[in-house]
Symmetry: C2
């Protein structure tokens, strides 16, 4: 196969590690040329399978690599000395894990698989080396980190300024968007996390999450039975977020 090196890759052009992978627009190779992507294969040496409920890494583990999720779901959480746990994110296919570790060379949170999963292991020293050589990789990596910062600010907004039902609506809309971006159904999906984990993420107790689910169902916005959710009225869900609440 012959292509000009300057043409951005598409899924069909790839052969190796990153190639069998249909996550291009979501993952690190995005925006890179074919020749550049070929060099990425040095990077993604290993893959690693993580069974449900197992840790990919723990807070305190020495930092050596970042991870791109190929298959599955993870949660990250931080734990206070007294045992209180805060879920800081739910990560799905094509998303990156481990960026927190760069700052101190040790991970600062736990990453736990919510279902049997598989990740690409990206040795961090190699990533730095290669991204000094490949402009596109460097830039994309910076974007990934920056995107995480922007996402975190969104969560702060959610936690600091929204009420229970607004938080859950925002959460559902967000999931829907991420499924859409991956070619899955926007309005029907299976939650991989428990009410307790959702609650931790949203700064609510699990009972409050459950009540909000029930309320949305009563109002015909969603249909929910346990972990199976169908969004019946996405515009209305969006309105909940934007609607100025009385409180706060």
């Amino acid at each position: 196969m012959h292509m000009k090196a300057t043409v951005p890759i598409t899924a069909a052009d790839l052969k190796s590690a990153c190639s069998q992978c249909n996550l291009l627009e979501l993952c690190l190779p995005f925006g890179m040329t074919e020749t550049e992507v070929n060099r990425l294969d040095e990077l993604v040496g290993t893959r690693r399978k993580i069974k449900r409920q197992q840790h990919l890494y723990r807070a305190g583990d020495p930092f050596e690599a970042i991870y791109a999720i190929r298959i599955g779901w993870f949660k990250t959480d931080v734990v206070l000395e007294d045992g209180r746990e805060q879920v800081t994110g739910f990560q799905m296919t094509g998303e990156m894990l481990g960026l927190d570790g760069i700052s101190t060379e040790a991970h600062s949170c736990n990453a736990i698989a919510l279902e049997d999963s598989e990740v690409c292991v990206i040795a961090y020293d190699k990533l730095e080396e290669l991204s000094r050589q490949i402009e596109g990789l460097q830039h994309q990596f910076h974007k990934v980190m920056s995107r995480e910062i922007v996402r975190d600010h969104g969560v702060m907004m959610l936690l600091g300024s929204m009420r229970a039902e607004e938080r859950l609506a925002a959460f559902l809309i967000n999931l829907s968007q991420r499924f859409t971006a991956r070619g899955f159904a926007a309005s029907e999906f299976h939650l991989r996390m428990t009410r307790d984990e959702i609650g931790s993420y949203l700064g609510l107790k699990l009972e409050t999450v459950s009540r909000a689910f029930s309320r949305f169902q009563e109002e015909g916005l969603i249909s929910v039975q346990q972990k199976h959710v169908r969004l019946l009225d996405i515009p209305a869900l969006r309105k909940i977020i934007q609607h100025p609440s009385v409180m706060r």
Copy 2:
């Protein structure tokens, strides 16, 4: 002055932009060699003064540079369509602003000076170029971004799992640590932000913040009059954070 290029710089060795600056251990040049730091001066071309209450940048502004605070204080905030505002951080001397802009090439939050301030303008394209050449710069920049992510996770913990007084205690301890790192008094300082801004950051109403201040004072943990705060019992403040609360 003659030095080996491999010796890490200290404040006394510098002559130029980054040099007059006593923020080395906090800012981008940290860990770099003398020769490397000299090259940084291409980077920090401009400085910019921002008067109190003025914007350094606004959400939506095209992203061109990141900023290192030389003098002063800033807040960053995100604003929802209905006008609700969430303060996402308070930044002081030696801290970096603008990292949110990399992901979409537009800023996603507002940065507003809390007092008359001055920043170093770091052109982003030059930063990327230079950090492909200078390993130490690349690494330090990544650390700065990662540190922001870790900080954000801490704020999520605060917002999602802590009660009002715990949040304020954590806030005060954090300020104290940051002042200490800059050689200022650890236990006596002047708040640059209003109760309302603190409240927004902590996910509380300004009255709740005020009540928490008063309560700490009653208990002899702090002394506070308006914006002047003295921490009288830092260990006790720390205990508040770690103490398992009944709720949540």
